[in-house]
Symmetry: C2
């Protein structure tokens, strides 16, 4: 995964050789950017990851991508070096551009149904994290936070496959994963009650354990405690973007 130092105001734009390799502007703890890392890694597409401090963005980044958002994918081989934004749109582009490891069903209707499930998962998850972060705990006691996840439990059970994508993870698996990985952090940041119930989600728990063995998932994986540590730093008003970088440096210096 290389250097995860996040570039900040005053930093110089990193220079890369003219190697035609995609550049992904990312933030190490952003679940939307995580989606793009997963698709690139699943398809074994080489890329340079450039991490951005989102609170103090370097000036040159607005010249690369006017929206200054991550994820942003710079297509260095295309004329004018166009930059794509929006995680789902980037991932769909990659799937069509690099068809060797297809992540969608080939049938148009099945592909469309998969997109609907991806879109719906996004809505569940934004409600979920909004509630977790904004409601006070007393109000939360009566809220069925994981209600929106039941449809996915049932869907995977109905499919009877290891992954939503079949024998290997597909687009829906990867688009859900960044948040599913982060569910494990909620007991550290908030409360034990956010642990997925094995009675309610037996199929998704089996799925999670299988996903953890996938090479793309492994490549960008962080455990619940690491995610919680970052979230805690963000909640305290001082997001520790370079948490992993500094830890690695400390280990090196030993």
């Amino acid at each position: 995964m290389g250097d995860t130092q996040h570039l900040t105001i005053g930093s110089k734009k990193p220079i890369y050789p003219d190697d035609g390799i995609l550049k992904l502007y990312s933030m190490r703890f952003c679940p939307f950017a995580h989606r793009v890392h997963l698709v690139l890694d699943a398809k074994k597409i080489p890329y340079h990851a450039i991490y951005i401090n989102l609170d103090k963005k370097p000036k040159w980044f607005s010249l690369v991508s006017s929206s200054t958002e991550v994820p942003a994918l710079e297509l260095v081989k295309e004329p004018g070096n166009p930059v794509l934004i929006e995680s789902l749109i980037i991932c769909d582009y990659l799937d069509e551009k690099y068809p060797e490891v297809p992540l969608y069903p080939t049938d148009l209707l099945k592909k469309t149904q998969e997109k609907i499930l991806i879109e719906r998962f996004g809505e569940f998850i934004s409600d979920f994290f909004y509630l977790v972060q904004h409601e006070d705990s007393e109000q939360l006691v009566d809220t069925d936070l994981y209600a929106g996840l039941v449809a996915y439990e049932e869907e995977l059970k109905k499919r009877g496959t290891k992954f939503f994508g079949g024998a290997s993870p597909g687009m829906l698996d990867y688009m859900m994963w960044p948040w599913c990985e982060r569910f494990a952090s909620l007991k550290f940041t908030f409360d034990e009650k956010y642990v997925l119930s094995p009675e309610r989600f037996p199929t998704l728990i089996k799925w999670r354990d299988l996903m953890l063995q996938d090479h793309a998932v492994k490549r960008f994986y962080l455990d619940g405690q690491a995610h919680a540590k970052y979230v805690d730093s963000r909640r305290s008003g001082n997001a520790d973007y370079n948490m992993l970088y500094n830890e690695a440096k400390r280990v090196k210096l030993g």
Copy 2:
């Protein structure tokens, strides 16, 4: 456009001949449903429009589509009559399934860039209508409501074509249109200041006038006053879904 009566609690599910024709569940004043009407009409795909009273949905609708949202497109020729939801996903499906009048560029990168502009327009428009409907007018005086539209003015000017899609409207044109049609209602519901400025948006105003001549736009068009009348009814707490139906009936009874 046929019968625009909105079906409500207690209504029977309409019965259609086994004609293989798509069924679109819609609401006459919903801009998201409007998108699907435009794409179907642009491609001259026949369909049965079934209008739903969203405040008092008929029970049978939840058996057709568990989400009970509009737009919903029932694919009556596919096994199990699957139903698609989410306006952009439905429109993308239609474009691929019925390629005779293609609405996207064939080039993957250009198509992807069009999707980014569609996504961004959706974000601008949801902010726009949120502000218009929730902020009090004094706060609004200092807000540049149309700031997000400037990028589209510049984009179309740069392209130098009649439409974003070139010589005829493409997906971006149609996905933007429902809200652009509704801009003309804001001076009735709110204030004259919501009229698009010809100094600021000369290209988009020319575009709007050309769009108004498009056959798909004409087929589902309502003027600013009609949109305002519906919005006023909704704001008063009693959305007049059957406004057009009742007006047509009155005209008939003369």
